[in-house]
């Protein structure tokens, strides 16, 4: 069910899309973002070098780092500034690259990777806590953050995000679009 607010926001999304593709010069945020009086949604693309350095500093073995650098990490941060529940369900978000659907490398993918290299439990736990939760009923004043991971073969990802409101998701539907969020390569920070 798409509500009037959702439809209005969808139209707003179409208008906002160019502005959300990249942070403006002197932007107060380190990446593409959307903010209004109900929420802040912020995306920060990470380079493979940044991610490898982060996990290496936490004692991850080279076999794990080799797999991490082959992927594309985008840190997602959402803050619920409203007085109602905001549902974030990544399973309902659409991710595309060059017009084709792409899948997130989710917890099942990483579980398989870690099983193959017999990664120690502490590292699995740390990696898990650094990932964005696939489903969250974000309470008023609650922030949530973590990484979304995509195949490293893509140069960018377009994200069609959908959020729902209300304790049982029956409230307004909110749609946000972030076009061509980069998957930076190499060592340079975005």
């Amino acid at each position: 069910m798409r509500t009037r607010i959702g439809t209005d926001l969808l139209l707003g999304w179409l208008l906002l899309l160019p502005a959300l593709q990249a942070p403006a010069v002197n932007s107060p945020r380190p990446g593409p973002y959307y903010e209004d009086d109900r929420m802040l949604v912020l995306l920060v693309p990470r380079t493979p070098t940044q991610m490898a350095a982060f996990y290496e500093a936490r004692g991850f073995p080279q076999s794990a780092l080799d797999r991490i650098v082959q992927t594309c990490f985008i840190t997602l941060h959402i803050e619920n500034k409203s007085n109602e529940v905001l549902w974030v369900d990544l399973g309902q978000w659409r991710f595309t690259s060059n017009g084709k659907d792409i899948a997130r490398l989710d917890e099942h993918y990483w579980q398989q990777q870690w099983n193959e290299i017999n990664l120690r439990q502490a590292s699995r736990s740390t990696f898990g806590w650094t990932q964005f939760p696939p489903l969250r009923d974000l309470q008023p004043d609650e922030p949530v953050g973590g990484n979304m991971v995509f195949p490293g073969s893509i140069d960018s990802v377009t994200i069609d995000a959908v959020l729902h409101t209300g304790p049982d998701r029956s409230g307004a539907e909110i749609r946000l679009g972030f076009g061509n969020v980069g998957c930076p390569k190499g060592v340079a920070a975005p």
Binding site: F54, A57, R58, G59, R120, Q121, A122, S123, R124, S125, T126, G128, W129, T130, P133, R136, Q139, D141, E142, P143, V144, G145, G146
Partner: protein, 179 residues
């Protein structure tokens, strides 16, 4: 008569809403009072700790890791709160999630050298507690039930949080023999 009933119900609802709003500072969520999972770990100095042994007190159970930005920002506030709440009867339990002693020492030695966390070295205890993310704080009542969860990092030394915590011992249904 029917209208009087409606007015009374509305007034009651308003009173309850206002009272609830005053009770809970921002980001503190009431829980259903489910029994707290087991929490039996060694602390940073190797001393064993078991949450079950501390029944009869409110427990503030806090999960954190030094790599987590909000945890780093929140830790000084936690230390200040603990100092300000020394006489409250609340037991403060800090659980580090899946880090080594070196990592914990490097961080806490600078930020909060007086705190001695429990070491959940493989992260499995944290996973059983199912926090919504890191950092996460749970308030466990004297009967061992989780009554509140704080969402994300909070400014615990602020008056709203201190007053909320100070009210807890008075409202707890403490078992006989407790403080």
């Amino acid at each position: 008569m029917k209208q009087n009933g409606r007015i009374f119900a509305l007034a009651l609802w308003l009173v309850i809403s206002v009272a609830q709003g005053q009770e809970l500072p921002p980001g503190v969520m009431p829980m259903a009072g489910k029994p707290a999972p087991a929490l039996q770990l060694n602390d940073f100095d190797g001393k064993p700790y078991n949450l079950a042994d501390t029944a009869g007190h409110w427990r503030f159970v806090h999960f954190w890791a030094s790599w987590c930005g909000p945890c780093r920002r929140e830790m000084p506030s936690i230390q200040k709160m603990i100092l300000l709440m020394e006489d409250s009867g609340i037991e403060f339990v800090l659980v580090n999630t899946a880090e080594t002693e070196d990592e914990v020492f490097t961080f806490l030695g600078i930020v909060a050298p007086d705190l001695v966390p429990l070491m959940d070295s493989d992260g499995l205890v944290t996973e059983v507690w199912q926090p919504r993310g890191l950092p996460a704080s749970f308030l466990v009542d004297p009967d061992g039930r989780i009554q509140y969860q704080a969402l994300g990092g909070r400014e615990w030394e602020q008056p709203a949080y201190l007053e909320f915590l100070r009210r807890l011992p008075a409202t707890a249904a403490s078992p006989a023999g407790s403080k």
